[in-house]
Symmetry: C2
Subunit: 210 residues, 2 copies
DNA sequence: AACACTATTAGACCATAGTCTAGATTGATA
DNA sequence: TATCAATCTAGACTATGGTCTAATAGTGTT
């Protein structure tokens, strides 16, 4: 009796995936989440999830942050990344940051099920094309990722906008908070990342391709 | 009667390269330069140089800036990059930014001469290992490179330190000028790159891997 | 030599970034 | 319910960043 959590902001895709899985796994329980917050709280309520199917591009998730955060909070949970893109460097990053699999959305459902079988057995599965260059993540990048995982979701959002080159005033407008609050978050980000200027914080984000 | 310009800050290497070339090219005239400034003035004085052998890591050159600058000022001059490293992405960037060849310093002298022959005929030459993935540089990156080439050497140095995450005060100390002057340079850099904050300038530098 | 042009320099001034302190809210726990 | 911890919020204050103006020095041109 397996239990999966599907985290994807696209309801139609969740439905399609659900259908594909139902044909291949009998006795399957599915939970759903549509953003990072609901994913984390779903994991918090259900402590017996066997596999997380995590979309990279979710609201509040910002590419790698969702994965980094989940891996930090639930290191034992197998995670398969579901993604529209299949860029080699992204695939490598995901595996490097602890995902057991990387499943492109374009895959036929039979192959998706096959990939999930592999992952449930504890093995790594990535598309054939990406199997060659799975660069190892450096120790330094691992440490940086660990620091990034300590950021709160709101702080992560602020870092994301920092990385876009926005001014504090613009970030405040985007998030609907005052500039003073943005500054407070930025100070907290500096502390957690171990830097002392916005430029350096941006360089950390750039390095992890957040 | 060929005329080459060797631009490398290592006198011993210039000498070794000179020796290797003398065996393969009769009637060879050699000019030497040890930093970016002397390279540019040498090119300015000698308008009949047939080939520039350019080291990537030279004082005042900061990896790709030297190449970008030379290509902007002398678009018709064949340039072969000489480098200690042979990282694939760097090779691709160099070729993308208009170098005709990329010659690792570790190459035996016979192969260096062979590579130079190829380049003099107007063909591209890179190490065997790097021949597969010569990613094309995007139009946007080309435009950015064109903008970076408009920076003066001093402005480029400032951008380099910006990219290291230094404060204006620290940059001023490094360059032996006042903070006010650093700020003036930074404003000029913003204008030329078409950005309006140091964060965005840093992101441009990061994107071009300067 | 006189000229225009550009890089470099810097001071005065204003805008933005960043720190410190602290109240309000939420969630888990006893 | 009471309480602790963490997050989010923001105001007051200081440091740093960025613009404008302008002087100086070098470069090439006529």
């Amino acid at each position: 009796m397996a239990k999966f959590l599907i985290a994807d902001d696209h309801p139609l895709f969740r439905e399609a995936l659900q259908g594909a899985l139902a044909n291949h796994f009998s006795e399957l329980t599915l939970r759903e989440a549509e953003d990072l917050d609901s994913t984390l709280s779903a994991l918090n309520n259900d402590d017996d999830v066997d596999l997380l199917l995590l979309d990279l591009h979710m609201p509040g998730s910002g590419d790698l942050y969702g994965l980094i955060r989940v891996r930090e909070d639930y290191p034992l949970l197998p995670v398969a990344i579901i993604s529209g893109s299949e860029d080699s460097s992204i695939v490598a990053k995901c595996i490097g940051f602890g995902a057991l699999g990387f499943i492109p959305k374009s895959l036929p459902s039979a192959e998706i099920a096959e990939a999930i079988d592999t992952i449930l057995q504890g093995d790594t599965w990535v598309p054939k094309e990406n199997r060659e260059r799975l660069d190892v993540i450096s120790d330094e990048d691992q440490q940086l990722a660990q620091k990034v995982s300590e950021l709160t979701p709101q702080q992560y959002r602020v870092l994301h906008f920092l990385h876009e080159g926005l001014l504090n005033k613009q970030i405040a407008y985007q998030l609907g908070i005052t500039e003073a609050t943005v500054k407070a978050h930025i100070t907290a980000i500096f502390r957690k990342l171990g830097v002392y200027s916005r430029t350096q914080a941006v360089l950390v984000a750039e390095r992890l391709q957040l």
